[in-house]
């Protein structure tokens, strides 16, 4: 621990100084939850808040990595620095993983101002989004202008990850009913910009119109929830001064051929438009507040869980408790009470001491 304490300030200074190795090591510490990583992230936090964060998700093979590569290249051509975090699944059995997204990063070879980092899910329940959010902070503090987080949109874990972004891009490829299925499963709601990649393939226009239809249904649904129809919103807005529907972002659909770099400018146009929208409506701040609150809750849950694990061990470990319950000597509620009561007592005593009741 003492080593980490002496090491942390140096590492932080080096990251802020633009040292690539220090940035890479910082992200490793975040991933490993290495001793002292919290101090590092805490110290970096004050230097964050300048980057625009873009989340990219879609089914395997949709062309996410290739598109991210071209996106990074186009940003670089415009003089912006880029950080990329590519999340791949890990084996639930061995914890091992093959992280293959880097292969597609061919346009940015030798350009250290594109910092590309592969991360594996490491089977962390809820922890992945924490680790990703911390890695984004490291890249932000390092001074990256744009940060792209790429993930396979397969499950809640991954969805949580892209939600750490300001703008969420959902990639769809033509001619696959599965994509539409995936969209039905809930990813539709998180997309701010939809990309139909491989737009030179047969069926691309069908996919675009399918998407338009589904997005229209989504608009209809939110409008109905707000108590009026989308079409009439502009007319009614004078009557309802607090009507928020005119502020709602209309998700855009962009067609790209990532391998050729076609449509990437349109995509950046849509991303910029969304970011401007976030800023002008105050949504950027609202989203950031929601994220921060979620981040704090996540940390508290994890820390509280650690504290409880310690208590479980102190009482002979989980196996012993399970044995007692299985033998019908006690029940889960009683066990939970027994473990939690001393903690609750401590909290109550502390509260009474800090804020004595008159």
């Amino acid at each position: 621990m003492s080593e980490a304490e002496t090491e942390a300030p140096d590492l932080v200074a080096d990251v802020l100084d633009g040292d690539h190795r220090a940035l890479a090591r910082t992200i490793s510490k975040i991933e490993d939850r290495a001793p002292g990583y919290r101090d590092i992230v805490s110290a970096l936090h004050a230097h964050t808040g300048d980057a625009e964060v873009i989340g990219v998700t879609g089914s395997p093979g949709a062309g996410k990595s290739t598109l991210v590569d071209k996106l990074a290249k186009t940003y670089r051509d415009r003089g912006l620095t880029v950080g990329v975090i590519a999340v791949d699944p890990s084996s639930p059995y061995t914890g091992g993983a093959v992280l293959g997204d880097r292969i597609r990063m061919a346009s940015n070879v030798g350009d250290m101002d594109v910092f590309f980092r592969s991360m594996s899910a490491r089977g962390q329940l809820g922890g992945l989004s924490t680790a990703t959010a911390d890695a984004i902070k490291a890249l932000d503090a390092f001074g990256k202008d744009r940060i792209v987080v790429e993930t396979v949109g397969a499950g809640q874990n991954e969805v949580d990850v892209v939600r750490t972004a300001d703008t969420v891009v959902v990639l769809v490829q033509p001619g696959s009913g599965d994509d539409v299925q995936m969209l039905k499963a809930g990813i539709l709601e998180i997309g701010d910009v939809f990309v139909v990649n491989k737009a030179d393939m047969d069926g691309a226009s069908t996919t675009v119109s399918d998407l338009q239809e589904m997005l229209h249904m989504r608009e209809g649904a939110t409008a109905a929830g707000a108590g009026h129809h989308g079409a009439g919103a502009a007319v009614e807005s004078d009557a309802n001064a607090d009507d928020k529907s005119t502020d709602e972002w209309d998700p855009q659909i962009v067609e790209t051929v990532a391998t050729e770099g076609e449509g990437v400018r349109d995509l950046i146009g849509a991303l910029d438009a969304h970011y401007d929208h976030l800023r002008s409506t105050g949504e950027l701040d609202r989203r950031a507040r929601t994220r921060t609150a979620e981040e704090i809750r996540q940390l508290l849950r994890a820390d509280a869980a650690d504290l409880l694990e310690g208590e479980i061990d102190r009482r002979g470990g989980m196996a012993t408790l399970v044995d007692e319950v299985r033998a019908r000597e006690t029940d889960p509620y009683t066990v939970a009470d027994r473990i939690l009561t001393p903690l609750a007592d401590c909290v109550r005593e502390r509260r009474e001491r800090d804020d004595p009741v008159e």
Binding site: R21, S91, V98, R102, M112, S118, R122, G127, L299, A302
Partner: protein, 138 residues
């Protein structure tokens, strides 16, 4: 799996460098490393030494495994090692080589900073054990 517990995982970059289109071996070792619980980043084919260095530095790998069958190892491997030194990444990266390396070149490569050379027929477990035993402490 909570935020408080350290979860150190060995990270490896499996790299193909130079004009060498044979990556069956690299694929096999990537798979074996994955099954051993390592996180494996595969570079893809035909990478320049600078690309390997860029990947090794950014990914902060513990192990860099270079697969090379083209015979250009005496030129390419020292370039990679120089690049790692430039970024201060050489000391804590275990550099190993797999492929066709003539015996007389081994000593020079090891002197340049390669930790071990694994030729054809090396049992997979031997390579995995070597990595586990020699992975740099941080």
């Amino acid at each position: 799996m909570s935020a408080g517990q350290e979860q150190r995982t060995i990270r490896c970059l499996v790299a193909k460098v130079g004009l060498d289109g044979h990556d069956r071996g690299a694929h096999v070792i990537a798979r074996a490393f994955r099954d051993a619980g390592f996180e494996v980043i595969y570079s893809g084919l035909h990478r320049a030494p600078e690309e390997i260095v860029q990947a090794a530095v950014q990914e902060d790998v513990d192990v860099l495994g270079i697969s090379i069958l083209s015979g250009a190892h005496n030129t390419l491997v020292p370039k990679v090692i120089e690049g790692l030194k430039e970024y201060g990444a050489f000391e804590d990266t275990l550099v190993i080589i797999g492929g066709i390396i003539p015996d007389e070149d081994r000593a020079d490569l090891m002197a340049a900073g390669v930790a071990e050379v694994f030729g054809p027929g090396t049992p997979m477990q031997e390579t995995i054990d070597f990595v586990r035993d020699n992975v740099p402490q941080r």
